[in-house]
């Protein structure tokens, strides 16, 4: 990797929260427009962040705060490994580790809302993490490697004899990644662990002021990472087509998530687990079976 590559990746890392902030801002604006409202300005998440940083500190205990930092640190780690073109499975597990830390942070205060939120959050992790790992494994089966550096090296991969981009040969893995994005950014119908009307703010209920701002920062990094994962499904040999295609793919996924968010109601946590076992798992298994058959040389 030459110096320009390194500079670009560091720049992407530093700008990741900026993108996250803008995504959430556009999200709120478009949601408002869909609901026939005016909506807040685009930079609203940034104003929220600044305001939260300026509040007086209020804590319940210190361990609670440490886990908020650990959560953000591991999301940043996952993003860092992603930008270093690392191992997809490690990225999934680093995300899982960050979720474990957030759950531990929510557990470390004696609040009923926090504990119920943390239990739901863990179940949500059990529902989504294995599928995300299986999606990464499906990518590996198609491209032959877990490492992003190898995946980017080729833009199309053979699928039943035809060279196709990953999006077309791994549609169900793509669906799982979209599902993971919906669940991890807490959007309807799966915004269960921070269900406002049921458990106040779930895992985030006892964070306030600057520490809530830190968790919001974590969200921004997480969103950028998940959209990065989505963008893995499109590659091109020409650099500007690759970048443009990834941005367009991200934007389309963003709109799809937005529409789903605004047109569905919240489901319960056991519905999420059942959905992932009854629908998510069979779909990803079908995708894996297709890839295996196609790689064994069966002509379509």
């Amino acid at each position: 990797m030459n110096t320009i590559d390194i500079v670009i990746r560091v720049l992407l890392f530093v700008l990741a929260p900026v993108f996250g902030c803008l995504f959430f801002g556009i999200d709120r604006k478009l949601t408002a427009r869909m609901q026939n409202r005016v909506g807040p300005p685009l930079l609203q998440p940034w104003y929220d962040f600044r305001k939260l940083m300026g509040k007086t500190e209020e804590i319940v205990n210190r361990i609670h705060l440490v886990f908020a930092f650990a959560y953000v640190a591991f999301v940043m780690l996952a993003l860092g490994i992603f930008l270093m073109d690392g191992d997809l499975l490690i990225i999934c597990f680093a995300l899982g580790a960050s979720q474990v830390f957030l759950a531990l942070g929510a557990f470390s205060v004696r609040s009923p809302y926090s504990h119920v939120g943390a239990h739901r959050y863990l179940l949500q992790m059990v529902a989504v993490e294995p599928l995300l790992g299986l999606a990464a494994i499906t990518i590996k089966l198609q491209t032959g490697s877990f490492l992003l550096s190898d995946i980017y090296a080729q833009s199309t991969y053979p699928f039943f004899g035809i060279n196709t981009i990953l999006l077309l040969s791994l549609p169900f893995a793509f669906f799982i990644v979209i599902l993971a994005t919906i669940v991890d950014t807490q959007k309807s119908p799966f915004d269960i662990s921070t269900a406002h009307s049921e458990i106040v703010s779930g895992t985030f209920v006892e964070y306030s002021g600057p520490y809530l701002a830190i968790t919001k920062l974590g969200h921004w990094f997480e969103l950028f990472l998940l959209f990065g994962f989505v963008s893995v499904f499109f590659n091109s040999d020409v650099l500007w087509i690759s970048i443009a295609g990834k941005v367009v793919l991200d934007f389309i996924v963003f709109l799809v998530i937005l529409v789903i968010d605004n047109s569905t109601a919240r489901l319960t946590i056991d519905r999420l687990v059942k959905f992932s076992i009854r629908i998510g798992l069979p779909l990803i298994i079908i995708n894996i079976v297709l890839i295996v058959i196609s790689s064994m040389g069966v002509i379509a």
Binding site: V60, N61, R62, M84, G86, R110
Partner: protein, 627 residues
């Protein structure tokens, strides 16, 4: 320097001290003898390691005579005595399966010993795999014995207890160092005896029942082993392990004895459907659980499988079914551990699952997966022993055996709570050895299409593992709101803290300095049969041919993200501390027990389905050679 003296000390010295413990019977004498045994064993293992390195590889050691007594004959006699003792136990307990298994063991064994003449050379074979096991037995075992000195201080049968503990250490050393299959079998049966006696220690009705069940199941494994030995002698022409492993027979009936040995290993390591004895064995005192049922005895089954891996690898279907049994066990036990409330049962299920993972790696049988198996073996022994020791301290000092009783322990016994949190982190968190082993196992299982079933087992099992460990840690960390005067922290005895902190330091140290672990221990262990190990580490990144992990970066991140905020937050003013949000009400302290999902994943129901499936797998395993 010859390896004869260290081997002799490692095997015979603990037995001698054990007998002295039984004779001495007073508390101080037993403590002194245990410390002496620990010191000598630790020193012996280090000396043996040094000799091994000087020798550059496997050491073949003959020990045909000991103080004028021919050793092989001595072991034959002792073995026969042991067989008859098992028969006697079966009669005394009025337990038909025990009687049947004891007799069924004697028949092939005595028949074979009468046929077999000639000296097996070498008697002992010491290579790096055996060395790893010797380290586990001597170092971790000695730490546990030291812990047991304090733990059992109010017990009135300490003489008997420490006799069996030290006898067990000697037998384990003998088993992993033996090259002669008959000697291996003898030491194996001695560990079965120690297991029975130690589970039975409390002499309550439940203890006797659990001990009997353990005896029945492990004796059943012994029967399989006893039938396998003549088979191996017939088809492989030798009962010297080194010579068996050097052979290359065609797949066929020659592998039925190998499958029987695998079956024996499954009973010893409590894989499904044999897991009930290990779960019942949790009634034993905690040092027993730590030593036998997590760190050492159950590792004997896994050790035999890793040792036989080159032969298993010659029969692809056999190794595949072994891998499926291991992977299936890992998944099912992770599922069942979610609903457990007793601490030791959670740890028991976790142990069985991790052993299943190691067995799965052996079944996959590639250089990378065998390396992963040894890596997992090494780190699992440390972390699991530490967790069981902590569970023992929770029982004695925290007065609870349940997870729900550990609620808020971060305030009542901070040292213990932090140890538990750190230990669980070494089991499941990102840059530590256990996680790397699991990750390598997962990646290896995607290399061939038929192994993808195992991928599913591992990935779902890993996430479920995170679930039940995080739930447990959550309750431990759930601190009550700060009282005006925090309670004086409970001081823990040095005999508890020194073994626990040593194990914790070891688990962390070896995870950070993974490079030497791979290049000095795992690599040379794998090299003789599988070539250079594909995994490597320069202490900054952990490399495998399929991916890499920036481990030093993650360790640095943990330091920065956890310890730095802890230091920063020392200066938060008292006024900033506010109560939790309870809709504005003034409640008393809340108690939050958490969810255990007994309705969604009930362990009796899962056992009822899992046991038949595993039984069918075992039947397939015994018959699949003929495909």
């Amino acid at each position: 320097m010859s390896a004869e003296i260290p081997v002799l000390i490692a095997v015979a010295f603990p037995v001698l001290l054990g007998v002295l413990c039984y004779a001495v019977r007073n508390r101080r004498g037993i403590a002194a003898l245990s410390f002496l045994s620990g010191a000598v064993l630790i020193a012996t293992s280090l000396v043996l390691f040094w000799i091994l390195r000087e020798n550059g590889g496997g050491i073949r050691l003959d020990m045909n005579e000991f103080a004028g007594i021919p050793v092989s004959e001595l072991i034959m006699v002792l073995d026969a005595v042991l067989m008859f003792y098992f028969l006697y136990l079966g009669i005394k307990l009025k337990n038909i399966p025990t009687i049947a298994f004891a007799v069924l063991q004697m028949i092939p064994l005595f028949w074979f010993e009468s046929q077999h003449r000639g000296v097996v050379t070498p008697s002992f074979y010491i290579d790096y795999l055996a060395m790893i096991m010797v380290f586990i037995v001597c170092i971790i075992g000695s730490l546990i014995v030291i812990y047991a000195v304090k733990y059992m201080e109010h017990d009135n049968k300490q003489g008997r207890f420490f006799f069996f503990m030290l006898l067990f250490l000697g037998a384990m050393n003998g088993a992993v160092l033996s090259n002669n299959l008959l000697w291996l079998f003898f030491f194996w049966e001695v560990t079965t005896l120690c297991c029975y006696a130690l589970i039975r220690h409390e002499e309550t009705e439940e203890a006797i029942r659990s001990a009997t069940r353990a005896l029945v199941i492990t004796l059943g494994g012994g029967v399989a082993f006893a039938v396998a030995i003549p088979g191996i002698s017939h088809y492989f022409g030798t009962i010297s392990l080194v010579d068996v492993l050097a052979q290359n027979p065609a797949v066929g009936i020659a592998f039925v004895p190998v499958a029987l040995v695998a079956l024996a290993a499954f009973t010893k390591s409590a894989q499904i459907p044999f897991q009930s004895w290990l779960l019942g064995a949790m009634v034993a005192p905690t040092p027993v659980s730590a030593l036998l049922h997590s760190a050492t005895m159950v590792n004997l089954g896994v050790y035999v499988l890793i040792r036989s891996a080159p032969i298993i690898g010659l029969a692809p279907w056999l190794s595949f079914v072994i891998a499926v049994v291991g992977g299936f066990t890992f998944f099912v036990t992770a599922l069942m551990a979610v609903s457990q409330v007793t601490i030791k049962r959670v740890l028991a299920y976790s142990t069985i699952g991790n052993l299943g993972l190691i067995i799965m790696c052996v079944g996959i049988n590639t250089p990378l997966s065998i390396s992963a198996a040894i890596l997992l073996l090494f780190f699992h022994a440390m972390s699991k022993a530490l967790l069981f020791l902590s569970a023992g301290v929770v029982d004695h000092e925290g007065h609870t055996k349940q997870i729900t009783g550990m609620e808020g322990m971060i305030r009542s016994i901070p040292v213990l709570a932090v140890t538990v949190v750190a230990a669980v982190m070494t089991m499941m968190m990102l840059p530590f050895g256990m996680f790397l082993g699991k990750w390598v196992a997962l990646e290896v299982s995607t290399t061939r299409p038929e192994l993808l079933l195992l991928t599913g087992f591992v990935i779902f099992g890993s996430v479920l593992t995170s679930l039940y460990y995080t739930k447990w840690l959550g309750l431990v960390l759930s601190a009550p709101e700060e009282p005006e005067h925090p309670p004086k922290p409970h001081p823990l005895s040095k005999l508890y803290t020194i073994p626990m902190f040593t194990l914790l330091a070891g688990a962390i140290f070896f995870s950070v300095f993974m490079g030497p672990v791979i290049s000095e221990l795992i690599g040379p262990a794998v090299a003789p049969y599988y070539g250079a190990t594909p995994m490597s580490s320069d202490n900054i990144t952990f490399f495998t041919p399929m991916g890499w992990v920036p481990s030093l970066l993650i360790f640095a991140l943990i330091l920065v993200a956890i310890f730095l905020p802890l230091k920063m937050f020392k200066s938060i003013p008292r006024e900033a501390v506010k109560p939790v949000y309870r809709c504005g009400e003034d409640f008393e302290q809340l108690r939050l027990k958490g969810f255990f999902y007994e309705r969604e994943v009930p362990d009796e129901k899962i056992t009822r389905y899992a046991n038949p499936i595993a039984l069918i797998l075992l039947i397939i395993m015994l018959g699949v050679i003929f495909i």
